[in-house]
Amino acid sequence: MDLLLNFLPAIIIIVVMFGITMIAALYSTYGERKVAAYLQDRHGPNRAGPGGLLQPLADGVKMFLKEEIIPVASNKFLFILGPSIAMTCALMTGVVLPWGDKFTLFGRTFNLQATDLNIGVLYVFAVVSVSVYGIMIGGWASNNKWSLMGAIRASSQIISYELSMGLSIIALLMVTGTLSFREIVLQQHGGILHWNFIAQPLGFLIFLICAFAECNRAPFDLAECETELVGGYHTEYSSMKLGFFLFAEYINMFISSAVMSALFFGGFNFPGMDFLAEKGLDANWITLIGTAGYFLKIIFFIFFFMWVRWTIPRFRYDQLMNLGWKSLIPIALLNLAITAAVMVIRHSNNFGF
């Protein structure tokens, strides 16, 4: 019984987060269409429900009811495995993210976080690097040249940008000295000036660019470049298997926004946190406001993803590779060296200042 009580908060948080992630991804599709519409001076979806709010549900039902086609020449098992891996990996990352501070309920205090791994950042990297297989296997199993090209583009892009992403994170880890998401967020307590993007502006910029590439989002959506590759790696997919691929992309966007807000923008910290605590506001309320603030930051980043998608045209593939290997990695290495030098100077008195 006691064991169950210990695990119960984690289980509840996992279930709630699963729901929120799904809803966030569902409404990201709606948000994307609305943002695109406003940027292009249109109305966007406005028929289903008030302001088109039920459009995602209609889309979902449509996805489920469409005819399921598995190409004859495809490898059936791998064809189904591809989107399943993409979806599973997309949903796995949310476990280590800190959604809120301490919360007290029925005399028990627990963190609004499913589990706090002491290597949480690395865990996210591991899951991201495995999620490449969803696209690769799906693209290959379709037995279609466009799909294969799309899959290869997507995965080489993801592994190339993973390098500079990792380097930018290493610079951040030098500053924080921990791989645990919770500790990184708690270190940023105490106003905007303590948030990591102040200390690591270059690192944040690199991380942001790499996040676009990792999610296969415009301007780096070469994997599904219609003019060159028909539909990219999901050319042969139909019905909910296509839905899973598209859904995984939106979930990845949500998760990378969450990772970015936690690592660089203070996570559940918000300006005026200590002021409210001094005024005697209940700690639970502060936690809830913090969680709401965290979600606001996430929504802002999701909006930013969409904003960029409908503003900047797509890169050419060689430009993409040149940017990744010849610009971002050297800049990330430079950032790493500068950070290391500053850390040495700050932490040792041997230099006399």
Binding site: N118, I119, Y123, L148, I152
Partner: protein
């Protein structure tokens, strides 16, 4: 509990490793190899080496095997294009492999369990302890290994650059 987990992981990793060899389709072989790496990461986890487990997944399952998969997918190997192996080669391979197995079994069945050289800290696999040891006691081998990697990287770049432009 831990022991049964160990046996489960060991049997699955051996089974999957065998499947790497027996699978007819090279892409399936690579996928089995990836699963084998996951079971090995599981072994690291029950040894309380979480850092090693995740790095293993990132590096081997996530990066190296992707490149393997790349090459094999682009070659598009299948039964028709595969060169036929002569019977003699198969026999030679079987005999050589069998001899190796015989030697290994002979060696390991006679081997005594070695006692631990000194007390092993069960928390050594945690990232904090591992980092401290790597950067204090083992700083020299660690740095030498990283220089070796750097040299290998530069070598790979030079080899790739030597290709004339006509190749594209």
């Amino acid at each position: 509990m831990l022991q049964s987990l160990f046996y489960f992981l060991s049997f699955t990793s051996i089974f999957l490793a065998c499947m790497v060899v027996f699978a007819k389709n090279p892409v399936h072989s690579v996928l089995y190899l990836i699963l084998t790496f996951f079971t090995i990461a599981g072994h690291y986890l029950i040894l309380n080496a979480q850092f090693l487990a995740l790095v293993h997944v990132v590096v081997y399952a996530g990066a190296i095997m992707v490149l393997f998969l790349f090459v094999i997918m682009l070659l598009n190997l299948n039964a028709e294009t595969e060169p036929r192996q002569s019977m003699l080669m198969k026999f030679a391979g079987t005999i050589a492999g069998g001899c190796l197995m015989l030697v290994l079994i002979a060696v390991f069945s006679k081997a005594n369990a070695l006692p631990a050289a000194h007390e092993v800290n069960s928390q050594i696999g945690l990232i904090k302890n591992l980092g401290k040891i790597l950067y204090t006691d083992y700083i020299m081998p660690f740095e030498v290994a990283s220089i070796l990697f750097l040299i290998a990287m530069i070598g790979a770049v030079i080899l790739a650059k030597r290709e004339p432009k006509a190749a594209i």
